[in-house]
Amino acid sequence: MKLDVQHIKRILGFVFLIGFQIGLANTWTVCSNCENSSIKETILRAAPHDTLLIEKGTYKEFEILVDKPLVIKGIGYPIVDGEKKGEIFRITSDDVTLDGLFVINVGVSYTKDNAAIRVVQSKNFLIQNMVLEQLFFGIYLEKSSHGKVYHNRIIGEAVDEYNSGNGIQLWYSSDIEVAKNHVQGTRDGIYLEFSDRITISDNVSMDNLRYGLHFMFSNHDVYTRNTFENNGAGVAVMFSKFITMKNNTFRKNWGTAAYGMLLKEITDAEIVGNIFEENTIGINIEGSNRIKYLNNDFIGNGWAIRVVGACYTNSFKGNNFLYNSFDISYNSKLNDNVFEGNFWSSYTGYDLDKDGVGDVPYRPVKLFSYVVNRTPETIVLLRSLFMDIIDFSERVSPVFTPDNLKDAQPLMKIRP
C-alpha cells in the first residue's frame, strides 16, 4: 500500500501539473456567434498567459484594456471597429502580444491623444502584422521598453496637422525595435521623444504631413534601411545625440520647407550610405556639430546640403553629389567643416597624375546660392548664362563664399 500511495501521489502530482499547464496556456476563441463574442469580456475571463484567437468578423469595441500578459491573435484579419468613440487597445501589462488584427476608427480628440494601440509602462510586448486605418494616433508607446513593433501597416488620411496624430509614437521609451512597418498619411510617420536606444529599420514612411521620422531629445538611436518618400520632410532629427543613420533612402520630399533630412541642434551623429534623391533640400543642417557624412549619394536634389547657422567640425567624405541644382549652400562666410574625397558631377577639373583625384580643388558653393537665399524669386534664373558667368568669376576669385570651403581632393570617378 505504501507503494500505492506513493504511486497515487505521483499520478496526482502529474495530473495537477498537466492541469496547471493547461490552465496556464488556455486558449479562448472569440467570434461573433460564439460563447465569447466580445474581446473585452474574454480578456476579463482569461487568465494571464492565455491566448485569444479572434476569428474573422467585425467587433465594435473600444477601450479594450489588456492588463495581463496575453496573446491576442486575429485569424483572417478580424475588424476591431472603435466607431470613433475613443482609444481602442490599451496595454498596461508586460508580455503582451497583439497579432493580425484590423483596427479602425479611432476617436479623434483635441484633448486626448487617442491611439489605436497604446502601450503604457510595459515591457516585452510584441505588436505585429496589425493593420490600422481611420486613425488618430496609431501605435503609442508610453514609458515602455524592450518591445518590438514589427510588420504593421498604418494608413491614415491626415489633412491638417492640428487634428491628426502620429503613426508610431515613442515617448519616454527605450530599447525597442521598430521594423518593417509601413506608415503613411499620418502627421509624423514615426515620432520619438525622450526615447533612447531605439532601433528603427526597414520601414517605409511616406505621404505623411510632417515628418517621415522625427527625433526629439532622443539619444543613441539607430535607423537603417528605411525609405522616406514624399513627406513634408523625410526625417527630422532635433536636439538629439549619437544617432546613427545608415543606408536609408530619402526621396521626393518636395516643397517649400521640404527636406530629405533636417538636422537641428544635434551632435555626434553618423550619416552613412544613405541615398537622398530628388528632394527640395537633401539635408538641412542647423547648429549641428561633429557629424560624419560618409558615402552618401545625393542625386538630383534642389540643394544637396544646406547649412544654416553655425555648424562646426562636420566632415563630408566619400559622398557622391550628382546633378543637384546646388551642391552646398551656406549662409555664412565662415567654414569649419571638412569636404574631402567626394565626387561632384559638376566638377570640371583634370587629373594629370592619374591618381583618381582631381588636381584642382572643387568649390561646391555657388554665389548664386547666396543670391537665392537672399531673394528666393531669383531661383527662376537658375542655369542662366548670366548666373553661370557670375558663378564662374566667383569660383575664380571667391569674394562672397568662404575661401576654405572646398574639396581639395575631388574624385574623378563616381564612388561605386
Binding site: 546633378y323 537658375l382 542662366s384 548670366f386 558667368i389
Partner: protein, 260 residues
Amino acid sequence: MLKILKYSFYDLIRSRWSYVYFLFYLALGFVLLFLNNDVSKAVITLMNVIIVLIPLIGTIFGVMYYYNSREFTELLLAQPIKRSSIFMGQYFGVAGSLTLSLVLGLGIPFVLYGLLRSNAIFDFSLLLITGAFLTFIFVGLSFVIAISNENKIKGFGYAVLLWLFLAVVYDGLFLMSLIVFEEYPLDTFSLVATALNPIDLSRILILLKLDISALLGYTGAIFKKFFGTDLGFLISIAILLLWTILPILGLRYKAGKKDF
C-alpha cells in the same frame, strides 16, 4: 510657299554651313555621350548649349541668309508669287534646315548610345523641342531685323545685340530688379519677366524637368502652381508658340510694306 520652302531648304542643306552646324552637334553629342558615358550629365550640358548657342546661330544664320539671298529674293518678287509666300518659304527653309541639323546632329549619337532604352528620352526630346522652338523664334526675329534694315552691317549688329540682350543682359537686369525690389511680392513679376524672354522661358521649361526639386523650394503661391503642375509646362509651350508666331506676323507685315 511650299515651292519656295523647298528650294530654300535644298539650297541650305547643300550649303557648307549647314554641314558645319550639323557636324558640330554630331561631334558634341558623341563627345558628351561616349567620353562621358552619362546621359543625365549630357542632358544638362546640352541644355546650356541649347539655350545659348541655338539662339545665336539662329540669329546669325537668319541674317546671313536674308542678306545673301537678297538678289534672288528680288528675282522671285518679279515672279507671279505672293510676296508673303516668298518670305515665309525662305523663313521656314532656314529654320527648318537648322532644326534638321540640330535634331539629326544630336539625335544620331543619342540613338546610337541607346537613348531609346534610357529613361532620359523625355528630357532629351524636350531639349530638342525647345531647341526647335528657339531656332524658329530667333530665325524669325533675325528675319524681321534684316528686312527692316537695308544696311547689312547694321542689321547684323542689331541681330547680335538682340541675342546678347536676351541671352545675358536681360537676366542681369532681371536679377537686379529682383534684388532691388526684394521687399515686394515678386511672383507675378518674375513669371511675366520670364515669359517675355524666349530664352528664359525655354530654360524654365527644361528646368521644370531637370531641377524641379529646387524650383519647388520657392514659396510663392503662383510659382508653386506654375512649377508644381503640368499647367506650367503647357503655358510655357503656349507662350513659346506665341513667340514663334509673333516674328512670323511681323515678317509678313514688314514684307507686305517693304520696297525692293
